[in-house]
Structures are given as C-alpha cells and as structure tokens.
C-alpha cells in the first residue's frame, strides 16, 4: 500500500484539471468530483498509514537533471511522519470540502472554489511526500499560490484583495530567504535530498557557519509560511477568505507546513545548535505574543487566527528544544481541533451573518451541535485533560522544562492565556444572553453537511490525543521519532504548572464574562414577571409598583454602575495591560514590520518611476546614452592605461 502513496496527490490534481481548466457548461457536479477525489485519497492514506504502522515504508526517486557532476533527483518517501500527515491532510480536506457544500452553497465562483481547493490539496500532499528540498519548495510555492487565490476569493471587496496580496508577499519574503538557504545547503553538499542532507549534516560534512546560515535561512521560509514572529502579520488578515479555507489552509495544513519543514529537515537543524536556538526562541516569542493579542479580539475568526499563530509557536518551541515528537504531535492534534474550531466559527458566522462576538451570545440553545463540538474543540485547545491538546502541549512543556526553564515559563503563561481567550470566546458566543435579538431570532442550526464534519472532527479532537499519551505507551512516538524513542519523566512542577495554567485561565474568564450573568438586562428580565404579576393581581400595589419599578430601575442603575465601574474596571484593568501590550506589539507590527515591507516596496516603486522617466521617448537621448557609455568606457581604458 505504501508503494501507492505517489497516487495520493495525483487524485486531487486530476480533480483540479477536470474542474478548473475547460470552460465547460454550468453544472454543479464539480463539488462531487473534488470530494470524491479527496475521499479516495483519504482511504489510500489510511492504507498507507496502516502499512507504515506494520513497519512498511516506501521511497522512490528518479534523476531529474544532471548538473555537472551532481545529479538532482526527485521522488517521494513514506515514513511515519509522512503517513500521519497524509491522513491529516486528506481528512481535513475531505471534511472541509463536505462542509463547503453547505457553507459555499450558491456562491458565484463555486466551481472555481472547488477547483482551487483541489489544487491546494494536491500541492499540500505533494509537499508532504516530497523527498527533497527542491520538490518541497515547488509545492511550497504552489500552496502559497492557491492560498493567495482562496484568500482573494471574494475579490469584490478590495480589502480581501489587499489581504491576499499581503499574505502572498509576506510569505514570499520568507520564501526568498528559504530559497537562498536551500541553495547554500545545495552548494555545500550537492544534493537536495533530505536523507543525504541529513546524513551529511549529522556527519559534520558541512562547515558550521554554512550549516547554521543555511538552516536559519531555511527556517525563515518556515517563519513566513507558519506565520511566526515577525512575519505573522498576514495570517489574521488572511481571515478575509471563506471560513472553510481558513480551517483547511490557515489552521490545519498550509501554515503547519513550516513546522513540517523543520521536522522534515530536522537532522540539519539538530546539527546546528545556533539554528535550534533560533527556532526555539522564535517559537516561544510567537507563542506568548500572539496569545496576548488573541485576548482582546472581538472578531471570532481573529481570535482563532491569533490562536493559531500562538499554537504554531508552541510547535516551533518544541522542535527547537529537541522535542521532535512533541512538536509534531502538537501539529497533528492542533490540525484537528483548530480545524474544528474554524468550521464551528464558520457555522456560527453562517447562522448569524456576523463575525463580531459582541453581537452573539446564547447560541448554544439554537445551535447545539455547533455549540457542543465547539466546546470540545476549545477544551482541547485550552489543554483540558484528557482531550487532544492536553497531551501534546504537555509534552512540549515537559521538553521545555528540561531544556530551557525560561521558555518553559513563557509556555505556561501562554497556556493560561490560551485557556482564557478561548473560554471568553466560547462564553461570548454560545452562552449568556443573546446580545443581538434580531440576529438571534433568525439563527438556526446549520445543515447536516456542515454539522457532520463538525462531529467527526470533535470526536477526533477528543480522542486523538491518546495516541501520544504516555500511559498508553505513546504509539505516536513509536511511529514518529528522531533518533531513539526517548521518554521524559513527568514531574510534578510541570503537571501542576500546566494544570494551574488552564484552570486559572478558564476561571478568570468565567469570573469576568459570567459576570454578565448578573448584568442589568438579566435582572430586569428576571424581575419583570414579578412586577407584572403584582400590577395585575393587586390594584392597591401602586406603591409596590412604584417601588419596584423605581427600585428595579434604581437597582438596575446601581448594578449597571457596578457593572460598568467595578466589573468593567477589573476587566479593563486586566485588558488595559494586555491591550497596552497588544497595542505596543500591534504598533510594532504596523510601524516596523509593515513599515519595513512597505518601505522596501515604496523604494522600489519610486525607483521604478524614476527609471521609467529615463525613457523619454526621444530617440536621440537613447543614442546619446549609448554614445556616452561607449566614450566613457574608452576614457576609463585610456586613463586606466
């Protein structure tokens, strides 16, 4: 079965060609083609995984081009990591495509949407299967291109086109560095293949500087793709795309490609302590930095976007500190629960027509399936045992505890924030009173095609963590490991630290947002029946009436004041600090990162305008430029001897 792995990406490719290329009649069967292709691919992937678990593997390559004395080969390889990734990618893609049947129903560019989804799936699968850097780079660019097309899917709004451009150009900046890194490694070793590169790097055949430089430049590509600090700016904007796309590309697969790259090229990184340090610190900084920003978002997708950035940071943190299995395991679990959360948010957005959580609330009553699957997903994200996120995050923090205490504590704080913001989002969306009655009235549960994927993903988010659970022998680690399978002893510091983090986060969030429970509207509506009763039953109760009415208003007033000053005060106090931090970082984003990007772009375009003006249209100026050049050349020669 593993020998058939090369077939897996070809199915979505065929689907893309079928849907995308000819301008054939308006039929709506495209969706079935796409779903069918990825469905078969998923089954094949399961077979491959089964094969690999039983000890199978496959690799094949052929010579692509002979280059002087070195031959460039391309091919595919199937090992544990590949097999798992194949299953994850095809499964999430399948879920998203099914889900899109409902979500994108009636879209103007429905056909194109499915075409590009197929293209993306093909590219992502190719990326996973590639056995060398060059081939990986090809698919790397291709996923970038399809992401670009999907973010800009609704290009009627110029903001979406801007977001698409921003995503493309920002990641491209990383890609350039990555390409140079690939070339450095290539010029040092004469090969692109991961296997040979890894062996040569481990054997010390590459000079330390070149290795560190190559690995760090390679990592720069991952920084762009995985939205790591400081190239994370594109991912929140990328939420402009359709939500299922966000689930597939900007949560589960493409953004994880950076992590996958580090995992795939791990022997190279592991041979360079400097590069590992860079990976770890970038990951740690990103994890906490993005988490703080997630605290204050009102847009439900933005919360998830920053959360994704933060979680990707976790993975990098794990990898950089030597926790190969831990980092990649978090990649897998995160793919499931974050895809679930995104699809859940999509379901909510689909139902309410807004992304602003302050206009939601209480939705769980109307959308029970969406609500409960969301809760499972958010619990997994928060790291509540025994759900998926708990096991993988635990592993990472355990690694960090032994390797780098500073980063460990950063990780713990970020974990607390994670629990806080996801609880907040959950509360604002699904609990409490509906804040926009008009919307709430129209809300209904999403159709079956949308809820079934949610349920499937929820089951996975709940259970997939056991694959990495030490008590069960951590089967994942048996499959995906670097060097020997090694096991870190659990210590009480980590156990308690992690537990305290999520408990604290959830409780604080509940304390603040469940504070809305005793907010003004709640009391008015709670007391109004009594008031009505009294008014109708006892004519004499004008006094009470007055008292209650005035009293309730007065009480409401007091409570309102309390709400505003005290509760809000606490909230604001906490929020102000985080917001200040977020603002400061946001400012950094806008002014420094964007500024630098724009500055370069502006510089180039000013130069472009200036150069353009040289072309005056006057033919003699052209001849003059040539004559002056030639005469100058002569003069230099004569003067220089």
């Amino acid at each position: 079965m593993a020998g058939l792995a090369w077939l897996i990406p070809l199915l979505p490719l065929a689907s893309w060609l079928y849907i995308g290329l000819p301008s054939h009649r308006a039929s709506t069967r495209y969706d079935r083609v796409g779903i069918g292709a990825v469905g078969i691919a998923f089954l094949l992937s399961l077979g491959v995984l089964w094969d690999v678990i039983r000890g199978g593997s496959a690799a094949a390559s052929f010579t692509w081009a002979v280059h002087g004395s070195t031959a460039i080969t391309i091919g595919y390889q199937v090992d544990g990591l590949t097999a798992v990734m194949l299953v994850v990618v095809t499964l999430v893609s399948l879920m998203v495509q099914v889900y899109s049947l409902g979500y994108m129903h009636g879209d103007r560019r429905y056909k194109r949407y499915y075409a590009v989804l197929s293209l993306f799936t093909f590219a992502m699968l190719g990326l996973v299967l590639a056995d060398n850097l060059l081939l990986l780079y090809i698919f790397w660019e291709l996923v970038g291109l399809s992401s670009y097309l999907l973010i800009g899917h609704w290009f009627e709004d110029p903001a979406n086109v801007r977001a698409a451009n921003k995503a493309f150009l920002t990641t491209r900046a990383g890609d350039v560095a990555m390409f140079i890194g690939i070339m450095i490694l290539f010029s040092q070793t004469g090969t692109f293949a991961f296997g040979e590169l890894g062996e040569l790097a481990q054997a010390g055949a590459i000079s330390a500087q070149a290795l560190a430089l190559g690995a760090i430049l390679l990592f720069a590509g991952a920084v762009g793709k995985s939205a790591q600090f400081p190239l994370h700016v594109w991912l929140p904007d990328a939420m402009a795309g359709p939500t299922p796309v966000s689930a597939l590309i900007h949560a589960a697969t493409m953004v994880a490609a950076g992590v996958y790259l580090v995992g795939r090229a791990y022997p190279v990184f592991a041979a360079s302590p400097e590069a590992m340090q860079v990976v770890a610190w970038i990951g740690g900084i990103t994890a906490i930095f993005a988490a703080t920003m997630a605290l204050v978002q009102a847009d439900i997708k933005k919360v998830l976007a920053y959360s994704t950035v933060s979680q990707l940071g976790y993975m990098m943190l794990g990898l950089g500190l030597g926790g190969y299995t831990a980092g990649l395991f978090h990649l897998i679990t995160h793919a499931f629960f974050k895809a679930l959360l995104f699809l859940g948010s999509g379901s909510v957005i689909h139902a309410t027509g807004t992304q602003d959580m302050h206009q939601m609330g209480g939705l769980i009553r109307k959308m029970p399936i969406t609500g409960w699957t969301w809760i499972i997903g958010s619990a997994a994200l928060a790291g509540i045992p025994p759900l998926a996120g708990f096991w993988s995050k635990d592993e990472i923090l355990l690694t960090a505890y032994y390797a780098n205490p500073t980063l460990f504590w950063i990780g713990v704080v970020a974990a607390a924030m994670t629990a806080f913001y996801i609880t907040r989002a959950t509360w604002l969306t699904f609990f409490g009173a509906p804040r926009d009655a008009e919307r709430y009235a129209q809300v209904q549960e999403s159709p079956r095609v949308m809820t079934v994927p949610l349920v499937i993903l929820a089951v996975l988010a709940a259970t997939v963590g056991f694959l990495g659970a030490p008590p069960l022998g951590a089967p994942f680690a048996q499959l995906v490991h670097f060097g020997e399978v090694h096991h870190l002893e659990m210590t009480s510091v980590v156990t308690w630290g992690v537990t305290a983090a999520w408990v604290l986060g959830v409780l604080v969030a509940l304390a603040i947002y469940a504070g809305g429970w005793i907010s003004r509207q709640r009391i008015i509506s709670g007391l109004r029946p009594v008031y009505t009763l009294l008014k109708n039953r006892y004519y004499i109760d004008d006094a009470y009436d007055y008292l209650f009415v005035k009293g309730s208003i007065g009480l409401a007033y007091v409570v309102g004041w309390l709400d505003r000053v005290v509760v809000d005060g606490i909230v604001n106090g906490v929020a102000a600090i985080t917001r200040w931090f977020a603002d400061a970082t946001g400012l950094f984003d806008r002014e420094v990162v964007d500024g630098a990007v724009n500055g370069v772009a502006d510089g180039v375009s000013v130069g472009s305008q200036a150069f353009r003006r040289l072309q005056s249209g006057l033919v003699q100026s052209y001849i003059l430029a040539m004559a002056v050049t030639v005469v100058l050349g002569l003069a230099i020669f004569v003067i220089g001897g």
Binding site: R613, Q615, G617, A627
Partner: protein
C-alpha cells in the same frame, strides 16, 4: 604613401562628426545623412587597413563594398518610413515623434 595613422585619424574625425550630427539634428533625414558619414568613416578605416595588411587579398575593401550595399538598402527602407511619417504630418521632426515613451 600615406601613413596609416593619418587615414585612421581622418576616419575618427569623420566618425565623430557623424556622431555629433546624429545626436544633434532634429530632422530625421539629416540624421540619416550623418549616419552615412559614420559608415564612410568605417570604410576609410577598412580600406586603409587593407592597404597596409593585405594589398593582394584586400578583405577590408570587400567588406567596404558590402557596407555600401547594406547602406543603400538601409537608406531605401529609412526613406520609405520617413515618407510614411511625412505623409501623416508636415515634418519629420524627431522630437515630435514621441508617442511611445515611459
């Protein structure tokens, strides 16, 4: 016999005269004439060299013949284009021919 550097010097002067004309004249026809001056200077070079290098198999002279032929062909096409321009407008001021720029 004329010393070779004299011939070369004359050719260089003639060439720079032609170049100056090409760079400064506004009338397309006159630019064309200046180009012919440059080509003549090249031919002077070639003939001069041929005389000193290989008087019995003067490759330079033959080259010069071909330069003349090509020049004639070029002038024919150039005048045809200039006529088309002159037909559209009164003059062939090269400064006014600048629709294409930037």
């Amino acid at each position: 016999m004329v010393p070779l550097p004299y011939v070369l010097g004359l050719a260089a002067l003639l060439f720079s005269l032609g170049l100056y004309g090409v760079l400064t004249q506004r009338n397309a026809v006159r630019i064309l004439m200046a180009i012919e001056l440059m080509l003549n200077s090249v031919n002077l070079n070639l003939v001069g060299f041929a005389r000193y290098l290989e008087p019995d198999r003067p490759g330079g002279q033959l080259f010069a013949i071909f330069v003349m032929t090509v020049a004639a062909a070029e002038v024919a096409v150039a005048l045809a284009i200039i006529l088309v321009i002159a037909h559209r407008r009164d003059d062939v001021d090269i400064d006014k021919i600048n629709l294409l720029k930037w």
